[in-house]
Symmetry: C2
Subunit: 154 residues, 2 copies
DNA sequence: GCCAAGAGGTTGAAATTTGAACCTTCACGC
DNA sequence: GCGTGAAGGTTCAAATTTCAACCTCTTGGC
C-alpha cells in the first residue's frame, strides 16, 4: 500500500461548473476588453483609472495600486508608463517617503474615464450581472471574497 | 433634457461582488499558475493537455481546441509549438481536411499530465471549491454558463 | 469545371508581461 | 551614529500574446 493520499477529484457537477467558470471568465474578459478598446483602453488600464479616481486626491502609491489589482510592481510600472505617455496619469515622487511614487489621475484621465464608465458598466451588466439572479450574483461575491481572503496578498 | 439613457450603475453590493470576483480570479489564477510551474507548465498549457487527454484518440483539431479554450488560433499555434518542442504534444496533418491539423497528446504529455493533475485539482479545491458551499459553487456554474451562452463563440 | 468567399493555420513583427537584478530609502537593533 | 535587511520602484532581457498579412484548401454558386 502506498502512502499517498487518494486524490479527491472533482465530481461531474463540480467539473462542469469549474469549466464553465474558466470559459465564461475568458469570454467575459475578452468581451469587456473589446468594448473598451474604442476608448483606447484595455480592462486593465480601465481598472487602474478607476482605482485612482476613487482615491483621495485621485492618487495612489504604486505599490498600493499594484496590490489592489494583484499585479507585479514591474507590470504596473510599464502600464502606468504608457498611461503617462497618453497623459491619463501623472507620476510624482512622494515627499514623505522618498522611495515612494504617487500615480495620479490627470484631468484628461478623469474625463476619459467618465466617458468610458457608463459604457463599461453597461457591458458588465449585460454580460454578467443581468444574467444572474441577485442571489447567484451574491454567491459569486461571497465565494471570491473567500478566495481572496484564503490566498492572501502576493 | 438629453436623450441619453440614464446609466444603471451597480449598487453598492453588486460593486463589491464584482470587485471581489476580479480580485479573487486574479489571485486564483496566479496561484494555480504558480503551483503548476513545478511541472514546467502554466495553467494555459495544462488546460490544453487536459482537453487533448479527454478527446478521442487524444487529439483535437487546432481550431476546435482554440474554441474550447477561447483563444485565438494564433496564440494556440505558438503555444502548441512550444509544447511540441517539449515533446508533450505532436502535430499531424488531418487527412480528411487537408487544411486541418491535429494536435495530439504524446505519451510523455500524458504522463506529465497524470503527474500534475492530482496536484492541480487539489489546488482548485483548496483555493476555490472547498471555500464555497455546494450551492454557491453551483451558482457559479450556472452564472458563467449563462455568460458563455450569452457572449457566444468568438 | 471555375471562381469567389471563407475556414483553418501559420508567420513575423510589435506590444505586453514576466522575472531577475539593481538602485534608493526606511526601519531597527546595537 | 552605523550596519543590515526589507520595502518601493525601475530596468533590461526573455517569454508570451496580439495583430495583421498571408498561405492552402473547401464550399457553394453558376
Amino acid at each position: 500500500m502506498t502512502t499517498t493520499t487518494e486524490t479527491r477529484w472533482l465530481d461531474a457537477e463540480q467539473q462542469v461548473a469549474w469549466r464553465a467558470y474558466l470559459l465564461g471568465t475568458a469570454r467575459l474578459m475578452a468581451k469587456l476588453d473589446d468594448d473598451l478598446r474604442q476608448f483606447g483602453l484595455g480592462i486593465n488600464d480601465y481598472e487602474i483609472l478607476v482605482r485612482l479616481s476613487e482615491a483621495p486626491d485621485r492618487r495612489l502609491r504604486m505599490a498600493d495600486l499594484a496590490d489592489r489589482l494583484h499585479q507585479s510592481r514591474s507590470r504596473l510600472t510599464h502600464t502606468v508608463g504608457r498611461l503617462e505617455t497618453a497623459d491619463l496619469v501623472r507620476r510624482t515622487s512622494c515627499t514623505s517617503d522618498k522611495r515612494g511614487v504617487w500615480a495620479e489621475l490627470t484631468e484628461a484621465g478623469l474625463q476619459l474615464l467618465e466617458q468610458a464608465a457608463p459604457y463599461h458598466v453597461e457591458g458588465v451588466r449585460e454580460n454578467l450581472v443581468d444574467l444572474a439572479t441577485p442571489e447567484d450574483f451574491a454567491a459569486i461575491g461571497r465565494v471570491f471574497d473567500a478566495v481572496s481572503e484564503h490566498i492572501g496578498q502576493r
